[in-house]
């Protein structure tokens, strides 16, 4: 399965998800599909990148 992470836009609080490989460790800015704000992963209000293989998959998404 493609690995993704959910993010939350710091401008409009819209939530969407992104390809982990393309963005999680990169400097490329995400683009919010709701308000077109460009922001880095580090600026995300929320990050949810749990996978089935995580031992702690029952933990809730991280709030930043």
């Amino acid at each position: 399965m493609e690995r993704i992470f959910w993010t939350e836009c710091p401008s409009c609080n819209g939530r969407f998800y992104c390809n982990h490989h393309d963005f999680r460790q990169s400097e490329v800015k995400l683009m919010c599909p709701f308000c077109r704000e460009r922001f880095s992963v580090q600026e995300s209000v929320l990050l949810d990148e749990r996978t089935d293989s995580d031992n702690d998959s029952s933990q809730p998404a991280q709030q930043k």
């Binding site: 969407f16 998800y17 390809n19 393309d22």
Partner: protein, 467 residues
Amino acid sequence: MGQDLRAYLSRLAPGVSGLTEVDRSVSPHDFEVTALLKQLDDRQKYPAVLFKNPVDLYNQPSPFQILTNLYATRSRCAEMLGLSSDDTRGSLARRYARLSGTSIAPDVLSQDAPVHDVIWTGADADIGRLPIVRHFAMDMGPTLTMTHVMRAPEGHYNISFAKTFYKWHPSEMVVSIHTRDMSRIVREYAARGEPAPIINVLGHHPAFHLGSLAPNAWGVNDYEAIGGFLNQPLRLAPSVTWGDRFMVPADAEVIIEGEIPPERKDVCDPFGEVARLYQAQCLRPIFQVKAITFRRNPIIQDIFSGFADSFPLGAIPKEAGLETALRPLFPNISEIHVPSSGCGVYVCYISLRDVQDGQVEAIGQAVFGRIGVLQCVVVVDADIDVFNEADVLWAIHTYPSLKDDFLPLTGDFAKHPGERSGFGTTRWGSKVVINATRPRHIAFGLRSEIPADALARMKLSDFMPNI
């Protein structure tokens, strides 16, 4: 005269099973097209819909019309490929398989290509002047959903569906190249440090687009392969941007000519994909617009992805590939169907006459070896109609042992269960074969049936003529 979209549309009957025209103005980028299509789907009505008065991305009345939902029934797909509207079952896949093996050399027009009736270049070639559908709530933005053509440095043309995303820029989009061959062409041009020419064909005879889904080998000239689907030579003309170094379909409705600059990417997606999940935001190549050319009274085609409009586009080529690959190996195959419930992507139903021991798992291996994106194969007896999902689900709910007859395939299949994920993946973690044939190794009940002679004798029309 070449085969084209408007000649095809002229043969469609008006109405709910054919072509429905909408005169009122709609704003496609404000979800107004898909909002109406969804309500048709809720009512299980699947006309092709021609929106005659959409606005463009600047909210101005547009000369372009939008045609969508064209592929939403297998009956129309059968007619597109020269069959009767009743040929919706295996004969449709076998027809597709036969056409896939046919090749007709294109005709070249030196002048008067219909798609060059109007030519926009420079500042006129502004993508915002087109009406473009924004389909789903989380979509990145308005998205073009039809076929693209690229030409490999070696010289052959490759045609494939790909999405192109509007980026609120008059001449720059992002194209979601995802096929093996188009990705290779982009890489080859990048290795030379050259931009890759690409065109977006936004409307043509529907057999052109269906034919673009045939999985041809590297090096095949897809313009010749499309001729087989059209049953006549595809007419080509020199492009506006590259002349005869890149030929374009002369009878297309609208073509955007552009270039992919080496190594430049930008974000695209989310987009509600064919498997009814949003594709995750990712990085894809830039598409720099060079020219927009179109016929008078142009029609832009669009696909209502993840709904009935996209399912036959996934299903028919897969069924065709399986017909070709499996029947020689398993002569007792009755029928093959890739159902809409699996979005034409996940699931395949196969019925067998006189099932042999070990055959079910062997069929699963053969299916997954041929088409990696499929996730589940259900094998049933020939008395189960694979084109009737209620029938197949009855067999699944009745015959298999949960312990013994749900067969997850391991090995390479388990390592890459959703290799082409983004669309076409499940969370099962493996490929699964379900043996939903009637148990033969134990005493087991028999399915109730009405005697065949009674069914033949008692005509519904004789007793209930109004039904």
